[in-house]
């Protein structure tokens, strides 16, 4: 049996993450979910939070907001609209996305329920990105700082 998991995170804008890892922690809707290889097949909804991918001597954190994950014994696939590798958070872009989302929320009567949900998720996602960015001010080692 496999001793690694193939983690794939896919958004409409492309594949954000595609690597073999040893263990994955997912932000499921009702709490964190740790997945090791040979996990029981499972479909789960994703809330907002960090997907933590642990490989030998390395740890990647990817911020996701909403979505759905399929877990099989040797793979974890995450389908989500919003996912950003924390290494690649762009403060300006996140700020811009937040501003746009806030603007669109002002006219919320014009949005369909699905659109509204997406805009709200976009707002939550950009806010989370900014929070991550501020937590890791330049000079601090990645992953350091208060995890509160």
């Amino acid at each position: 049996m496999a001793d690694t998991l193939k983690l794939r995170i896919v958004t409409p804008r492309g594949v954000v993450y595609d690597r073999e890892v040893a263990m994955v922690t997912l932000p499921a809707q009702d709490g964190e979910l740790g997945v090791y290889p040979t996990h029981t097949p499972l479909f789960t909804l994703i809330g907002q939070g960090e997907v933590i991918a642990k490989a030998t001597g390395k740890e990647d954190r990817i911020l996701v907001t909403g979505g759905c994950a399929e877990i099989t014994g040797d793979a974890v696939s995450i389908l989500t609209v919003f996912a950003t590798d924390e290494e690649r958070v762009d403060e300006r872009q996140a700020e811009e996305a937040r501003r746009r989302a806030e603007e669109r929320l002002k006219e919320r009567d014009k949005l369909s329920p699905e659109e509204l949900a997406l805009v709200q998720a976009s707002l939550a996602h950009s806010t989370a990105q900014l929070r991550v960015r501020r937590r890791r001010r330049p000079g601090q080692p990645p992953g350091g700082g208060s995890q509160g």
């Binding site: 409409p12 804008r13 009702d30 979910l33 029981t40 097949p41 789960t44 759905c68 369909s112 699905e114």
Partner: protein, 283 residues
């Protein structure tokens, strides 16, 4: 003697045309790159979403949903995705040839893109709605179309909803393709997932919770992907056809210039000959 002024005018007009087509080629090329990126990057998502639904639907056998209900197909609705503007080679023509083959009596059409709507109106087909979509297709564009498709299907106005669009293969090749959207099972039936053993899945929090979530967004994103593919095809086709037009114009310009010079030289020779004869007559 052939008229040099006529040829000069033609040269000028061909040159103007080539300048316009070259400008259009440059514009299409830059739009093409962006549209192609969007289309190619959206594919893994569409593919994975389909796999998710197929696997989940297989595991959740007891789950039923109006959009998964397969009925005997008596009437079809076809979403025809075309461009808004012309000058993109045979892209729309190829698409419309396929559309024309569909049975007029049992098919209703939904048009996305102005060219398709014009074609359907001219051909006297049953056009029930027309939707615009942006240069960079937005989620809301796709959602409006998806909403209409869901409505038609659940009100049983049609037993199948399909989409006909120019799939982007590469810059030179775009292929008209019909994909069945509703009922949703059609989408993955042909994907040959049957050889994979149906796994026993757990669902967290619940089966309806996961399935509702997947079904709610699935169609919208699938249509968004199709709109993006269409844009990529459109700009690729336009870039190529404008490139050809520019090359043709340049060739024509060369031929015309040659003809012009020949006439001019012939005129000079005749004139010299005239002078020489006159001189000889005098002396």
């Amino acid at each position: 003697m052939p008229n040099t002024r006529n040829i000069r005018h033609r040269i000028q007009s061909v040159r103007n045309t080539s300048q316009i087509t070259r400008a259009m080629q440059t514009v299409a090329a830059s739009k093409m790159r962006r549209a192609q990126d969007a289309a190619v990057q959206g594919r893994p998502f569409a593919q994975l979403a389909m796999q998710f639904l197929a696997q989940a639907a297989k595991a959740a056998e007891d789950y039923t949903h109006p959009l998964l209900e397969a009925r005997e197909v008596r009437r079809r609705a076809v979403i025809l995705v075309s461009t808004d503007k012309g000058l993109c080679g045979a892209l729309n023509a190829n698409l419309f040839r396929q559309a024309a083959e569909l049975d007029a009596a049992t098919t209703m059409f939904i048009a996305a893109g102005r060219k398709g709507a014009q074609f359907l109106a001219r051909a006297g087909r049953n056009l029930v709605a027309e939707f615009p979509y942006h240069e960079t297709p937005l989620f809301s564009d796709a959602q409006a179309i998806a909403q209409m498709a869901r409505q038609i299907f659940s009100k049983k106005e049609a037993d199948e909803v399909a989409v006909l669009y120019p799939r982007f293969v590469n810059t030179l090749v775009q292929k008209p393709e019909t994909v069945s959207l509703l009922p949703m099972n059609r989408l993955w039936e042909k994907e040959n997932l049957s050889n994979e053993p149906g796994r026993e899945y757990l669902f967290e929090p619940t089966v309806p919770g996961v399935m509702d979530y997947l079904l709610r967004y699935y169609l919208d994103f699938q249509i968004l992907q199709i709109l993006q593919e269409t844009r990529a095809s459109e700009h690729s086709a336009r870039m190529v056809s404008m490139k050809n037009a520019t090359e043709n114009a340049e060739q024509l310009l060369k031929d015309l210039t040659l003809a012009y010079n020949k006439i001019r030289q012939a005129a000079i020779t005749t004139e010299l000959l005239d002078n020489a004869t006159a001189q000889m007559a005098i002396s």
